[in-house]
Amino acid sequence: MTGRKIGVYVCQCGGNIGDYVDVDKVVEDIKGDDDVIVARSAMFTCSDATQQEIVQDAQEQGLDALVVASCSPKLHTMTFRDVAKRAGMNPFQYTQVNVREQCSWTHTDDKTGATEKATRLVRAGINRTRLTEPLEPIVVETTPKSLVVGGGIAGLRAALGLAELGLTVFLVEKDAKLGGRVAGYGAMFPNDRKGSDLVATLEEKVRANPAITVFTNAELMAKGGSFGNNQVTIAIHGDQLETIQLDVGSIVVATGFDDYEPAAGEFGYGLDGVVTLPEFKKMVDEAPGLLQYQGRPVKTVAYIYCVGSRQDESLEGAHTYCSRYCCTSAVHTAIEAQKLAGDIRQYHLYRDMRTYGKYELLWNASREKGSLYLRVPDDEPPAVEKLSSGGLKVTTKDLLTGGEEIAIPADLVVLVTGMVPRENADLVSVLKLPVGIDGFYNEIHPKLRPVETIVDGVLICGACQAPKTSSEAVASGLAATTQSGAMLKRGFAELDPMVAIVDNDACTWCGKCLEACPYDALEQVEVDGKQVAQVIRTACKGCGGCVPVCPTDAIDLQGYTDAQIRAMIDGLMEVSCS
């Protein structure tokens, strides 16, 4: 007995738990456990009535900690932390035990087994809770200013959105001009608006907005401070290198992508008349009248899809992902090319046509205008060669006509190249950006936290995160805007206090924890004449990566301490009472 007063509530979730787990038996089994003052079952623990009952129990019995065994913690941890708070308990002395997704639902075939397991899980939760300490969220004041890195379409739109929220915005662009890649595009799918017009409109608004300061020929060089209050250093390249310091509360990274550059000889790249999709698009965008290549009219175009995308994973540095935009862009460019020269013959050699969603209509339109689609086998890519006559010949198999070998004479071969991550090691190192296996930056969760990174206050958007169309890039830019607003408009932010703690008596300062931490969340300090490690609570991400590297077991992660995990294991293995 530790003198703790724990309330335990086991949920039936209607029949979702109750049909497969004997909830009353679970309650019966744990009721006599040390420190358990209240143990009840409930039909729906998350209902207002039961929440109220918990609050009442807590007040009447003087509960100081709470366990709810119900659904996955992803669903209701926050709900019951709030209940704990309302009941006068510390919200971090609450434990949610997953007896639905990880018990009743997965053992619908074994009620006895599921019931025994539920008891074990609840007991582990009680054991963990017994060792919780009251924690307070780490509150930090935030600076109502945002830094946007990258002045392409996503960065421009984000900058504007941030200013509209009432934040001060600094926009840093490496290039001399704003607009990024989209500035170089003519008509774009789906509505044929020119890329150059789109960014010109955005740029005009950005330049006119007094809350936005634009730095071109500029780079982010350093970032200091901590979440909500970062000091950043911007280098501005000009006749003389100038550096300036700014205080910002959030950083939106919108650094874009690079076009895939085919290797010499890859699908004939390097031969006269073999061009990439961006090169071809430029030709079409800038064609004075008829489509021409080096003074000769272009009558036949062969497109080879998936160049630099969906590559075989056995290749060194393969880009195994789909670049998402290129099918639609190639199809759209073919329609534009056809507008220039009505009698043009266009052959599309594709692996899978991914003009998803409403872009399917463009694919149909291109077929109606005469484009022919040939499906090539994944393992037998088309071959491109130069003919003695000066033209090009593409040899391929067409799966749609029984795998027959087809030779296509072409004036121009367009390699439909994809997007690749941009080399930006300096920025990655300055911001500690998480880089995925594909080389693009990683969000915390693709659905639930799609623009946040594990570095609090650093958001990603646009094609630096993954291949995106420009509308998707802008949408994610606005998502990053909203996230910044949510963090900065309130004036302060609360960070989860489940961070690392150091036992000064056990610590001998060897520096191993500092080495293990990519977030620089540990520092060497002197306490009572002794060198020890100290956790910078606002920088710690609470991953626990420093815990197992400590040779003297001096580090614990709050909420997941050594004692708590061992107590949970004990609880899981403790034999049922009955």
């Binding site: 990880q102 997965t106 998480p434 296996i437 990566g545 077991d553 050594d562 995990i565 294991i569 899981l572």
Partner: protein, 145 residues
């Protein structure tokens, strides 16, 4: 518990402790449940923020308390905290194996695999496979007996 003992004699069902991660593998395991995929109720999960924070000594402790195997459902490349999470977790597993061997447990009593946030089917499959291979090894307790 006499009943359970008889059951164990008939078909030994190993107790497996799974370490999952709050953001990646735990949602994958949840999805197995919401899809009503079945594995043994002797599989029990403790979720932590990141598998790079698991202490090898916890794995040994689990064995000493009666688990027959520990499965680390790692984030692999998806870890949002640490770019080298896979390597770190593999190192933790190697250290844990050394500790187990020293105490007379087979090193196969700990294993790891990357489980993503939608890896319901792979997780279920791993649980079946791992239970089978642990059943071949027999209960962990015999090692100390």
């Amino acid at each position: 518990m006499a009943e359970a003992a008889v059951q164990e004699d008939q078909a030994f069902s190993p107790r497996i402790l799974v370490f999952s991660t709050n953001n990646i593998s735990d949602p994958g395991i949840d999805l197995a449940g919401s899809s009503h995929m079945h594995y043994s109720p002797n599989v029990m999960v403790i979720s932590v923020p990141c598998t790079s924070g698991i202490k090898p000594s916890w794995i040994l402790y689990a064995m000493e308390q009666g688990f027959d195997g520990v499965f680390i459902a790692a984030d692999g490349e998806e870890c949002a905290y640490l770019p080298d999470c896979g390597e770190r977790t593999a190192g933790i597993m190697t250290d844990a194996q050394a500790m187990l061997v020293e105490k007379g447990y087979e090193p196969q009593r700990v294993r790891m695999a990357a489980i993503c946030s939608v890896c319901a089917e792979p997780f279920t499959k791993y649980m079946h496979e791992y239970a089978r291979s642990l059943a071949d090894l027999g209960p962990s307790r015999k090692a100390t007996a």
